[in-house]
């Protein structure tokens, strides 16, 4: 599903944020990306979301070289993945329903089908009753769940989340992580960056540890080709 091939990412005027990275994640896997601050976790996820491009080497998703994707094709690619953010990035002037509907409206889905799918997604995160609420009026945990509903509503094969529980207390965090696990159980490949090691011990999944732009050798065998 995901393959990094001798990939190096260097930001303008900086040192290498990621250096000569190679690993592979099979379809349906749940991967936790951990490591100290500045290790390059967010950078790796941005490469997966086509927000940044590799400086050297390749990144493949579903056998497509997304590092060389023409700009024109990036929107189409992003429609096929789900993104979850630490600060949830909900649009504040729209209801929970409208936020979750966005990815479907972007793909031009018919209105009736949109309604059906949005309610299904909100139901899966337990927020069907709050569909009309503005994000501001929801708790942080609820807002993050709306963000997750938005990420899964178009049924992507890959879900990428950067510190999705970074703003939540431990109990809510576990809630959110269990929610991710449920989507993983139905076959969605997931890469989740997190600091929270305690949480990981309760969840299982594979762990990929980054240190200073490189993959920790102890964790690598699991991701070898």
């Amino acid at each position: 599903m995901i393959r990094f091939d001798h990939m190096t990412k260097r930001y303008e005027g900086g040192r290498d944020a990621l250096r000569n990275i190679s690993f592979e994640v099979p379809k349906g896997e749940l991967v936790f990306l951990t490591g100290p601050s500045g290790a390059g976790k967010s950078t790796l996820l941005k490469l997966l979301a086509c927000i940044e491009r590799p400086t050297r080497g390749q990144v493949f998703v579903n056998d497509r070289n997304i590092g060389r994707l023409p700009n024109r094709q990036i929107p189409r690619y992003r429609q096929q993945i789900g993104l979850v953010f630490q600060d949830n990035k909900l649009l504040q002037d729209r209801s929970a329903f409208d936020n979750v509907a966005l990815p479907l409206i972007i793909t031009g889905m018919h209105q009736r089908e949109v309604g059906r799918r949005v309610r299904a997604a909100l139901d899966q995160v337990g927020l069907l009753k709050k569909e009309k609420s503005a994000p501001r009026t929801l708790s942080l945990g609820e807002q993050q769940r709306v963000g997750i509903a938005r990420a899964v509503v178009s049924r992507p094969g890959l879900l990428v989340a950067d510190e999705p529980t970074g703003n939540l207390d431990p109990e809510l965090s576990l809630d959110i992580m269990r929610l991710f696990k449920r989507f993983n159980d139905i076959g969605v490949t997931m890469v989740i960056a997190t600091h929270d090691l305690n949480l990981l011990n309760q969840l299982g999944g594979k762990r990929l540890v980054l240190k200073d732009g490189e993959i920790d050798e102890h964790t690598l065998p699991e991701f070898k080709r």
């Binding site: 927000i51 649009l91 972007i106 793909t107 031009g108």
Partner: protein
Amino acid sequence: MIYKLRHYFGLHRQNAIDAFDDLIQKPLASMLTIAVIGIALALPAALNLLVQNGRSVADSFDGIRDFSVYLKPSTSLADAGKLAESLRLRSSIKTVRIISADDALKDFQETSGYSEALSTLGTNPLPHTLVVRPTEAADAARLTTLAAELSSKNNVDQVRIDTDWVKRLSAILDLLRRSVAIAGVLLIAAVIIIVGNTIRLDIQSRRDEIEVLKLLGASDGFVRRPFLYVGVWYGLVGGLFGIVLLVISALILAEPIERLTGLYQANFALQGLNFTSIGAILLGGFLSGWIGAWTAVSRHIASIQPE
């Protein structure tokens, strides 16, 4: 296929409705922009109407090549009548009208408002006058010889061809028409710039939203569309406002215009705001709104990328 098309137009209709809602939700800022657009569109239309009407006034005099033949003060009304009779027999002359000195004075008193001053004069300073209208067949050369012949007659003081001022008016109107075209182009450019700037500010204030949309897979085209609709709405609503301004101006001007046409015995019909000018204003608003929005979105939306 038809289903898909209907769906496509459905999405566009939704965009258009959302864009209109957007406009209403920021009433003050929108209204200022719309007012400026309305004025900018109404101005060239109003000037154009003015020139058009001036032209129809000038045109209504164009076919007229009357001579005014001022007789010597010593000439009696009877002699004037005789002269008129003899002129009527000529093939190059269509009609001859006698304006007696008394009639001329009365007319002058009524229209000039100097009646008091004139009545203190005691005697009538005006001569009898013949208004000679040549036939349409008479060409310029023939008219010149006719004028020369008339002025050499015993009783005739002076012959005047009344078309010089029409030519002058025509020249002025040509100048005005070009000025209106220039003003029109400049004001349309102003509308494009105003809409472009408004949309640019709109895009900047919604930068975060645009970034999120792009993260969710929105193409530049998808992000652009609502802004284009907002631009078109600005142009159209601004145009409507401009039309309202013109209608109000027309109402204010109706009375003096009626007096003016009355003075000229309604030789011409004044043109009001017709469908052509209403259509032109709306089309101008639509196009300049769209172009203005396009200049803004094409420069600013592609450059907004999520980080």
